[in-house]
């Protein structure tokens, strides 16, 4: 069985990492918002929320790393330099790989940005 999927030829892989960012963002925001609105519902303290955010963050970073690795592979592990503007299928694929890799990088950083507040905020202050 393959651990990593075969290369797929579609536009949608470009959006993998930003989608992971969006899911992580929503998980953190909605989770914290529900906890702060109904703290009794879960019977846990705010620290559990912070741990939850940490777990979500590691999962998201892991998923983005996988997406980045696949993109790197699609980019031929950097054997060719951009601009990838030849009218060939190969350059089109390299372009997709490179753009996906860049987006994975941005998403990685953005996920860390969003997770940072959990390091500093200790309670649901309003």
């Amino acid at each position: 069985m393959r651990v990593l999927p075969k290369q797929v030829d579609t536009l949608w892989t470009l959006f993998t990492a930003p989608v992971v960012w969006a899911l992580h963002f929503l998980t953190c925001y909605i989770g914290a918002a529900i906890y702060c609105a109904k703290p009794d519902l879960f019977g846990v303290g705010f620290d559990a929320v912070r741990v939850g955010i940490a777990v979500a963050t590691f999962l998201a970073l892991g998923a983005i790393s996988v997406s980045a690795w696949l993109a790197w592979r699609q980019w031929g592990f950097g054997t060719d330099d951009p601009p990838h503007d030849d009218p060939t299928r190969r350059d089109r694929i390299l372009f997709q790989g490179f753009a996906t890799l860049l987006l994975s990088g941005l998403s990685f950083v953005a996920v860390i940005y969003v997770a940072l507040p959990a390091l500093f905020v200790m309670e649901c202050v309003r």
Partner: protein, 838 residues
Amino acid sequence: MSRPAKTLPAKGRQAQEERLRSVWANPQGWRYWTTVNNTQIGLWYASASFAFMLFAGVLALLVRLQLAAPQNDLLSADFFNQAFTLHGTVMMFLFAVPVFEAVAIFLLPPMLGARELPFPRLGAFGFWSFFLGGIFVCGSIFFDAAPSSGWFMYPPLATDKEMSGIGADIWLLGLSFIEVASIAAAVELIVGIMKCRAPGMRINLMPLFAWYLLIVAGMILFAFPPLIAGDILFEMQRMFNWPFFDAERGGDPLLWQHLFWIFGHPEVYIIFLPAIALMAMIVPTFSQRPIVGYSWIVLAAVGTGFLSFGLWVHHMFTTGLPQISLAFFSAASEAVAIPTGVQIFVFIATMLAGRVIISTPMLFGIGGLATFIIGGLTGVMVALAPFDWQAHDTYFVVAHLHYVLIGGMLFPVTAGIYYYYPLVNARHLSDRLGTIAFWLMFVGFNVAFFPMHLSGLRGMPRRVFTYPANVGWDMLNLLSTVGAFIFASGILVVVFDVLRPKHRQPRAKINPWNAGTLEWISEPEENWGVRSIPLIESRYPLWDQKNLARNVNGGRFYLADAEEGRREGLVTSVLDAKPQQVLRVGGTSYVTIVSAFALGAVFIALTFHWWIVAAASGITSFCAILWWLWTGTAEIPEKLAKDVGLGLTLPLYASGPASVGWWAMFITMVGDATAFASLVFSYFFYWTIHRDFTAGIAGPGIHWPLAAALLFVCAWIATLAARQLNKQGREAGVRVVLVGACALTVAASAAGFAGPWLYGMDPTRHVYPATVWILVLWVLAHAAVGAVMHIYCLARSFAGRLTREHDIDIHNVVLYWHFMAVTAAITFAVVGLFPGVR
């Protein structure tokens, strides 16, 4: 296959040209207004939105005159409120967003080497909707009835009928109508960019403008529907007293703020990205080299598109949300500065790597970027919650948003006007007037808006109609007013330059700036877009493909002729732009105007509670749209395939995911699903804010909702079965199953209605029954459309237009029903089961 064909003898070529010209010609006389050609629609769209902009600009000048001196009584408080509300509303909804749709409709087909966008009639429909809605909203101020609660219409002020008058209804209904136009444009642009590029224009060769527009159109799909959902809740409260935002009956005004800003913040980027896209076309031309970092621009466009959805709460930092929530949004707001900055560095790198030619478009472009950077930096400031608590609702924010929007949008758009004017009129605008206009605008803008930072920091709140003397605001306000008039005079110079007669001016040559992108091949006098559809092998084909213009204009590529007298273009594959199909698009027609005006009349009649007129207009628009579908879509061609030139034969008919109609349905339904998700969000929002969100009121029970869900799933399965039977060519079976599916839909709807009805849920009593009803009504409205689709397919089958070979309609209906089934299942699971399990 990449070589152009040999040129035809002159006579044959002339005959081809004449056929092509007559097929794409506009009708004459007053019928001119029924044209659907992208060039005309784009120009009308742009002209209308500029006219609205000038109108909103005059309102801004009135606002500034009133604020020039303390204790001024030039305008009454109420008129002042109307003026600033309409100023913001018109600038955002009637100028900033539509003008990009206009530019896209005008530019994209030639830029992609297409003849037309895939749904020209939809484009025309969108324009007429926008135009009518715009006149309605703007006109209200002449009857002292304009909205006056600020452009974001916060309840409880805007839900209070005595405080806000009919203006709020005009805002809600007028703009909902215009949002329909925006979503129509989004559908058109996404399908156009993905499926109608010239052969060979792989996604790594696509012009950056198209990349940006693809992202922006996607953003519209996710940003506008929450506002539409919010508008529905808002109007239900104003019209029928359903208490969504009334705290006394369990509602919450904050929900509106969420829904509005889930739309409102991405909207800033929906406005900004297309303008920066123009810069991505202009900068390489005037640096005379390809852009440095094409992939980085794609990163920036996609990255901004996503991150911009994680910012909305930074408009709500002072509403008392938990600090951790504020911090998430603050962090995302800082993160979005990264992709935004990347674009600016790409432009700077391109200019450094090339040799910059100083010109009027570059002047506006660079001035705009400088202004935008200042606005971006104050944006980083207000994205920090503690700073925002000080600056919120002061003139500091007014200064920030104008720096961002005027620097990030108005200046680049003006650069675009100077750059693209030769494509419109084959003449240049005046460089002298352009330079004068730029300096007037640039200086005037900074004189007007820079002092607002200071008046804001000195505590001047926004939206006050006057202020006391000697609190340190007098001089700053006077300065702002003087600056505003200097700025306006600059805009007047641009308007004069555009409108002054130019017939004595020499004709500009084709591609006067020596640009590299394909749109510069098209001739302003011709309506056909491109004379023949070329094969593309470069990001800058006019620089890299020798003799391209000559070969295209000599008709040596695809579809150089119109033998059958039809408007035709090519459909190509998403990634590699391989030719797949010949697409015949709709031509000149009244049906678009009739549909748009009838639908507009529904919204206008609802504003004034003219129920009968609204019903009559609703029926008219329903019939018009059905007529449009019946006569203008899923047409069966006279032959299976057609020779498009260069030895290539392509089919004339495609259904399912291979057809553009299927994609349009899919994209529309994604937007629809977003609106639905916003309503579900509202349901759970009320759950979070109350200890018992039902307030002890009986729910719709479990049985009726579950029965409804089950019946809807059966209706969906029946629809699937109809498609399957059609595939096997079992005509009678298809018809029987379609009737069954329709009957199941009716039964499902009745069961869905029965739950809240039989349990006596009164939507005016409390927000809980109101949310249940709104979800159920949403499903019922969609079910009605689904049932009409069943009947439509049945009629098509009897008319011989839905057959085994020609099955576009049933594929699209099945796609609709996928969404319908999910919507119904979620709705009835939520309203039926959630009260029990919470």
